[in-house]
């Protein structure tokens, strides 16, 4: 009997002591816990492209009368309806848990393997993404954001502090300057095809960094003209901004399923493809200007433009496959895009506006015409065709009026050149009031006015007491003129 108990005891003992290894199996085989910067960078860049080009672009293009809503969310935007249920995917998964946190991780991973080129690119792209976010929502978590468990309820920094810097808050301009400095350092590894923008061409990244400085200076030029002037002069002095369309800061996608630019997906593929079409107003505007880009930008499946007016609430044109939509210029022939975040033309229009309004060096007229030519050339028009247009339409291409009239011309041409980038079109309209956008039909909104910011997403209001509702009719800090 005793023997038996010993045997039993031994069995139990053996079974229990082998346990430390037996239970040491909780390392996940499914996900990496550490990765290198080259697999992070494309994800971060694609996140920025999504933020600019997905739902926010459906909104931006519609709210600026480029497109008109035919159903679902765009039909809401079209009548100025916007609330906290909008853009939560953008805020959460494209911006904060998408592009921004991933740039942060690129910087961490690149620091470990001494590769500042990745850091420089990430800082420039991060600054772009921050600018996009604050331009849309105003005050946002910035200096305390992206800290994970360390700060679970980040405070909001004012848009002014984000752009200009403040107590413990780095300005976006300084972030770009840091990034430019990082690009100049020796780097152990450098990006190649994993860089969806320039394929690892650091010189073009420098130009992109300076061009981003121009874009951000332009954004604050109304509220802080002196600082804007100073920064633009700094860029002109460094003289290394975009030189041609080849320098455009644009994210290239592919044509395969699961690799395509968002604008292609929601224009031609997804179940929401019939949510919007090009607005009658946009077609009319370009027709009035005899603009040769119209047939390049806008499709005509049946040979004619099939469009509706903004806010139209009647029977939609049928069948849906005759609708005029974003062409391959914006979507790429098979979804490649590219998603153009900053273009050469855009920088030229910024310099034209600055020369006109801030007195920065250079001739506004020259920048203006270079901008138009760059845009037309990007659209695929030959130099002959562009020259012909200039000859036939001298009033369009010449800044011959008052300062205000000239500004309207510049921003109107910039608006056309930004076709496919609704957020930048909306930014310019908010800042300058141009192009003149008559109210849509059947508008509702908060007070019937065109939204000038996005409302904070409901998830933040629920989870972070630092957020208070700010309605979409309250201008952001840099938006000092109201229409």
């Amino acid at each position: 009997m005793k023997k038996l108990i010993y045997i039993l005891g031994a069995v139990i003992f053996t079974a229990s002591t082998g346990c430390s290894d037996f239970l040491d199996i909780n390392e996940t085989p499914n996900n990496p816990v550490a990765v290198t910067p080259n697999v992070l960078l494309p994800v971060a860049q694609a996140g920025t492209a999504f933020a600019n080009n997905n739902e926010l672009n459906r909104f931006g293009s519609t709210i600026t009368s480029v497109t008109a809503g035919a159903g679902n969310l765009p039909a809401r935007y079209d009548i100025y309806n916007l609330d906290g249920s909008d853009f939560n995917n953008q805020w959460r998964f494209e911006i904060y848990n998408g592009a921004l946190i991933t740039y942060e991780e690129v910087i961490n991973a690149a620091t470990e393997i001494n590769s500042p080129s990745y850091i420089g690119i990430s800082k420039i792209m991060k600054a772009y993404t921050w600018a996009l976010t604050t331009d849309v929502w105003g005050d946002i978590p910035y200096s305390e954001a992206l800290r994970g468990e360390e700060i679970v309820q980040p405070r909001l920094d004012s848009q002014e502090e984000i752009y200009m810097g403040g107590e413990g808050i780095q300005s976006l301009f300084d972030l770009v300057r840091e990034g430019l400095a990082d690009l100049d350092q020796e780097s152990l590894t450098n990006p190649g095809t994993d860089d969806l923008v320039y394929g690892g061409d650091l010189e073009r990244w420098r130009r992109a960094g300076y061009s981003l400085m121009l874009k951000m200076a332009n954004t604050i030029s109304k509220v802080r003209p002196d600082e804007a002037r100073q920064i633009i002069e700094e860029v002109l002095t460094a003289n290394n901004y975009m030189l041609s369309n080849n320098d455009n800061l644009s994210v290239t996608f592919g044509s395969a399923v699961g690799s395509r630019a968002p604008i292609y997906e929601w224009t031609y593929v997804s179940i929401f493809e019939n949510d919007m079409m090009i607005s009658t107003r946009f077609v009319n505007r370009l027709q009035q200007l005899n603009d040769p880009r119209l047939p390049i930008f806008v499709t005509r499946p049946n040979g004619i433009y099939v469009t509706i007016d903004n806010g139209f609430r009647g029977t939609l044109p049928q069948p849906q496959d005759t609708w005029s939509r974003f062409s391959a210029y914006a979507t790429g022939p098979g979804g490649q895009g590219p998603v153009r975040l900053i273009t050469y033309a855009q920088t030229q229009f910024i310099l034209a506006e600055s020369a006109l309004m801030l007195g920065t060096p250079g001739n506004a007229q020259d920048y203006y015409q270079t901008g138009i030519r760059a845009s037309m050339s990007l659209a695929g028009l030959t130099d002959e065709a562009i020259n012909a247009y200039f000859l036939a339409n001298p009033t369009v291409v010449t800044l011959s009026g008052s300062q205000e009239e000239n500004l309207e011309k510049i921003i109107t041409q910039k608006y056309i050149s930004l076709f496919g980038n609704g957020i930048e079109q909306w930014n310019d309209w908010r800042r300058t009031g141009y192009p003149v956008l008559p109210d849509h039909q059947n508008v509702v909104g908060i007070d019937g006015t065109r939204p000038v910011r996005a409302q904070y997403v409901n998830q933040e209001l629920e989870r972070n007491p630092n957020f208070q509702i700010v309605l979409p009719n309250v201008p952001v800090w840099w938006d000092v003129t109201q229409n």
């Binding site: 079974a15 904060y96 997804s270």
Partner: protein, 1037 residues
């Protein structure tokens, strides 16, 4: 010496029997109630199929062959008796009424059989004959309404659709709240594997569907943690112990049982529809829209209209298209089992088949079970036994869910659309419909399908030995493993994947357990009358899961459903998890003079999923039972039984695997508006990408705990003909492992941590009665009642609500919310003023903007009840079950579609009359006047009026009282079978869900599109419920 003598006598007996001649035995069967004779009683010669039935005077005459000397006398409602004839040829047999045995044996944790009176906690037993031959292939559905404290709900009537079960409420925020299932000692996976997006998926089966109901001998439900503590963490949501049939009770006979049933299944239509208005909006005909807000039928100029295809078609109402779309289902179930042996040496082999054609065209469920098992007492005293079961099951269903599925379309079809009278596809096999954006539902049922192929094996081996009369040691190894090969096919032209998509995946799940049990028993320990039993156990457990899949898109050859037909591959995935657990436990049971019982248990678990340095956790339980009638000797004729019981228990629950670390995940963005998935294919290069997961891991995780207190009272009256079993429980779940939602601007969306508290308080009552008990007629009634109050009392500091993990539409979030029951739905509520009156927008006459983020629906019922009546009349037996689910709400897309689309009947009544929404208009701050703004019917029933999909307007009362089950069975009197090879034969008819009354919902509200799991109460364009009815045959050879 004694033994030898016995053997000798036995041998002598046998010899005597051999030489004995066949003889005629006559006799009479009487009972206390019918001393003049019981007619219709069955007399069977044991070990043969020979038998007879008593005549009107209770008399019988039977030829008993040589070598047989035991008669088995049975009569429904009476205890079956065995009578040794000896040398007699004349017998008087008195049978006794089968009084409800309150001292019945129940199966408890680890398969230990216990006397019910000794239990200090609640265990409810359901016999196999209450499950089998009930027109229902899924065991869980057959339990509905029969067990107190248990909430069961089927996802839908689609073949194989999963069924959810919760015992005594929900105890974990995010863990598995389904009880542990144990089949013959085998921990049995009841996972549902919702690998598809449950908003758009096809309702895969809960894997308990792999059990054939015909094989079940009994089901014992261990309700609280005290009952299930020996199973440890796994059973913190309760346990269901299923025992399958064996040859144990056959007393050396061989019995071949054949069962066969055929049932028809009809869908319950989703709504009655209006027949006055056709396709269009604002009284205009629009050929491409889904609403029926078009012109009234018969309006001059609208006799015919031009459809999308340019054809001129009549403009009129078509018959209810639910009736046209759904078909009558058929369920064929057949089985044969061969069993033989006795309590020590026995075997069984059985085979069962189930073939079901579903109510949705092209849907089906097939199941094939083969089982073999047996036990043997070896010469050296070692007991060995084992079983192995192989199951093959197949399920095919259409896609379901909002918009792009046949079931998403069926609620949106304009009344003037001819669903079945026109071709649904063209020569190229492409859908012809009223809109190009969607597909004809009949096209979808052919071309958008989900298939699941399961091959499953489960079995056990056990070896036991009695070392002495007080010490038994046994070891058991159990295994349960299956692969589920799934394909979701969306052929070219599918609305969700216009270029076609094939999603193939293989799921593998395996669970191994090794259990050592040492049982010691000592009577008269310390003093006379005190008996002790000590159980020591060890459990080693390993669970593996693997999911490998690929999605091929961009198909080339129509109808070639193989991923080699795809041009692009996305969402390739491999997910592997392994977890292990080591448990040690002890249970000391003391009983004093069989009226006072105390049981103390403790278990230590070590889990691989917790931080290694802190992975062990202990939890205790104690249970007390006191049979007052025996202890105080106060048993009277009226009050025959009083038992008081109380228990307290705590159970720990470990985490899911791999929650400790923050991870990188394959990069992806977007949703169904636009999306990308890394690796990205750009300009010929494939670019891999990883991003940061949305969740922050925690290295400080500790186990969840459920603490439960239970008190109960059992009463028996009139020799236990009437019984009452009532229990109150209070369960607190603490330390929940939960992904707390955090501010997205942290860069993450959630953080894993231990937080929160949830409480379940409930009352269960069971009332049983043998109302009439005569040999001719017996009436048993059984009523059970369940009322559970669940409340989330805390989540995390500063967090008042959080989504339940799973798929949800944005703005419609199944949630936990502080102060509310688990699973409330947070959505946009109608705006109200301080007085609770609905606010109307004075400009439009519609509701003012809704208030997002509000609790709009509680999906948990107020109370549940079930009333079973069994009537036995001679050889007929009638069983009925009425159950009630009172309160609780359902969030229904289907009904909103039908209302906003102007399809449902009430939208056609007085449509031309303007309507006024109930509510008030703010005149000035705090001053309101009643709304008097007239709006058209289309606006009234629309999204701005009674509400759209993501609004309080989608919430309906799910109260339903129904005739859940009815079964009438006729057992052939054995005199008809005398000269046949049959031993017993019965024929029956049965039906399920034959009638229901649901005052708050236009159709049957027992729906949950998302299937078994923690998200309940969602009808997101899933299949409807069904009613089944059919015939059942059973005979033995």
């Amino acid at each position: 010496m004694k033994k030898i003598l016995l053997c000798f006598v036995m041998t002598l007996f046998t010899v005597l029997s051999v030489v004995a001649q066949s003889r005629t035995v006559t006799g009479r069967v009487t009972s206390e109630d019918e001393p003049e004779g019981v007619p219709g009683a069955n007399i069977l010669v044991r070990g043969t199929s020979l038998g007879t039935v008593t005549d009107m005077d209770g008399r019988f005459s039977l030829d008993v062959p040589e070598g047989r000397d035991v008669l088995v006398v049975s009569f429904l409602g009476y205890t079956t008796q065995e009578v040794n004839i000896g040398t007699r040829t004349q017998l008087d047999i008195v049978i006794r009424a089968d009084v409800r045995a309150l001292g019945e044996v129940v199966v408890t944790a680890q398969g230990i059989e216990r006397d019910e009176r000794s239990l200090g906690y609640s265990v409810q037993s359901v016999r196999g004959d209450a499950i089998s031959q009930r027109s229902e292939p899924n065991v869980l559905n057959s339990l509905q309404g029969k067990v107190a404290g248990v909430t069961i709900g089927a996802a839908s009537g689609a073949p194989g659709a999963s069924t959810n079960i919760n015992i005594r409420g929900i105890t974990s925020f995010t863990g598995n709240n389904q009880p542990l299932i144990v089949v013959d000692g085998i921990i049995f996976s009841n996972d549902t594997d919702n690998t598809q997006n449950t908003l758009f998926g096809s309702q895969p089966a809960n894997r308990l569907a792999d059990i054939a109901p015909e094989n079940i001998e009994s089901i014992n439900i261990l309700k609280g943690p005290a009952a299930s503590v020996l199973y440890g963490s796994r059973a913190s949501a309760g346990a269901i112990i299923i025992t399958t049939k064996t040859g144990r009770g056959l007393e050396d006979r061989t019995e071949i049982t054949v069962t066969s049933s055929f049932n028809l299944q009809n869908p319950i239509r989703l709504a009655e529809l209006q027949d006055q208005y056709g396709q269009g909006t604002q009284s205009n005909y629009v050929p491409t829209v889904s609403p029926s807000w078009g012109p009234r039928f018969g309006t001059p100029g609208f006799e015919t209209v031009e459809n999308l295809q340019g054809e001129i078609v009549p403009y009129r109402a078509y018959p209810n298209h639910f009736d046209q779309f759904f078909q009558q289902g058929r369920i064929y179930q057949n089985g044969v089992s061969i069993a033989s042996g006795n309590i020590d040496d026995n075997f069984i082999v059985s085979m069962n088949t189930t073939n079901q054609e579903g109510i949705i065209p092209n849907s089906r469920f097939d199941r094939y079970n083969v089982q073999v098992g047996g036990n043997k007492l070896l010469n050296n005293g070692v007991k060995v036994g084992g079983t192995v079961t192989y199951v093959k099951s197949f399920q095919r269903n259409s896609t379901s869910g909002n918009a792009g599925s046949p079931l998403g379309q069926i609620t949106r079809i304009p009344r003037s659309f001819d669903l079945i009278g026109r071709p649904f596809q063209d020569e190229l096999g492409q859908s012809i419909y009223y809109t190009d954006a969607q597909n004809h539902p009949l096209w979808s049922t052919e071309n958008e399908i989900f298939e699941s192929n399961v091959d499953r094996v489960f079995g056990n081996i056990n070896v036991g030995y009695d070392f002495t009369d007080w010490l038994n040691v046994s070891y058991r190894i159990t295994a349960d493993t299956y692969t589920d090969r799934r394909n979701q096919t969306l052929r070219i032209g599918s609305a969700r994947a216009p270029q076609g998509e094939l999603a193939d995946e293989a799921l593998f799940r395996s669970e191994l357990n090794g259990d050592l049990l040492i049982n010691m028993h000592k009577a008269g320990i310390f003093f006379e009358g005190l008996n002790a039993n000590l159980l020591l156990g060890q459990n080693l457990n390993q669970r593996d899961f693997q999911r490998i899949g690929v999605v091929g898109e961009g198909l080339t050859i129509p109808g070639f459903d193989n991923v080699s037909n795809a041009s692009v591959f996305t969402n390739s995935l491999e997910l592997t998890t392994r977890r292990r657990l080591v448990g040690h436990y002890a249970q000391l049971s003391l009983d004093y003079r069989e009226y006072l019982f105390l049981e103390l248990s403790g278990r230590v678990d070590q889990s691989s999923t917790l931080p290694q340095q802190n992975n062990a956790y202990f939890y205790p339980s104690a249970a007390l039972s006191f049979v007052a009638t025996d202890a105080l000797d106060i048993e009277t004729e009226t009050l025959s039984y009083i038992k008081l019981r109380a228990s307290a228990a705590r159970v720990g629950r470990d985490a899911d695997p791999y929650l400790l670390q923050t991870l990188f995940v394959s990069g992806s963005y977007g949703n169904n508006v636009a999306n990308i998935n890394f690796p990205l294919s750009v300009g010929g290069a494939s670019i891999p990408g990883f991003g940061v997961s949305t969740r922050i891991g925690s290295m400080d995780l500790t186990p969840e705990f459920v603490t439960s207190y239970e008190v109960g009272l059992n009463l028996g009256f009139f020799e236990n003909r009437f019984g009452l079993d009532i229990a109150y429980f209070n369960t607190v779940s603490t330390n929940q492992i939960f992904n707390v939602a955090i501010s997205p601007s942290t860069g993450f969306d959630t953080r894993t941590t231990n937080i929160g508290e949830m409480r379940n308080r409930g009352i269960e009552a069971m009332l049983s009665a043998t109302i009439i008990n005569t040999p001719r007629f017996r009436w048993d009634a059984n009523f059970n009642f369940t009322r559970i109050r669940n409340e989330v009392t805390a989540i995390a500091p500063g967090v008042t609500n959080s989504n339940i993990p799973g798929d949800s539409f944005s703005g419609i979030a199944p949630s936990i919310a502080v102060g509310h029951p688990y699973g409330v739905i947070i959505s946009t509520a109608f705006p109200r003023n301080a007085a609770g009156e609905l606010l109307i927008n004075p400009l439009t006459g519609t509701f003012a903007p809704g208030v997002p983020g509000q609790v709009v629906a509680n999906v948990q019922p107020n109370w549940l009840g079930g009333l079973t009546n069994n009537f036995t009349f001679g050889n007929f037996m009638l069983s009925t079950l009425i159950d009630a689910r009172i309160g609780g709400e359902l969030y229904s897309f289907g009904q909103v579609d039908l209302r906003t689309g102007g399809h449902i009947d009430y939208t056609g009544i007085d449509r031309d009359q303007p309507r006024i929404l109930p509510g008030v208009i703010e005149v000035e701050e705090g001053v309101y006047r009643p709304n008097n703004i007239q709006i058209p019917a289309e606006t009234y029933f629309g999204a701005g009026g009674l509400g759209g999909l993501a609004s309080e307007g989608a919430v309906f009362d799910a109260t339903a009282i129904r005739l859940r089950e009815i079964a009438l069975n006729f057992t052939l009197p054995s005199r008809f079978l005398n000269n046949t090879p049959f031993g017993e034969a019965s024929i029956g008819v049965s039906g399920r869900n034959l009638l229901f009354w649901a005052p708050g919902f236009p159709t049957d509200p027992e729906l949950n599109t998302q299937g078994a799991g923690n998200i309940q109460g969602m009808d997101l364009n899933g299949p409807p419920q069904v009613r089944n009815y059919g015939v059942n045959l059973r005979f033995t050879l």
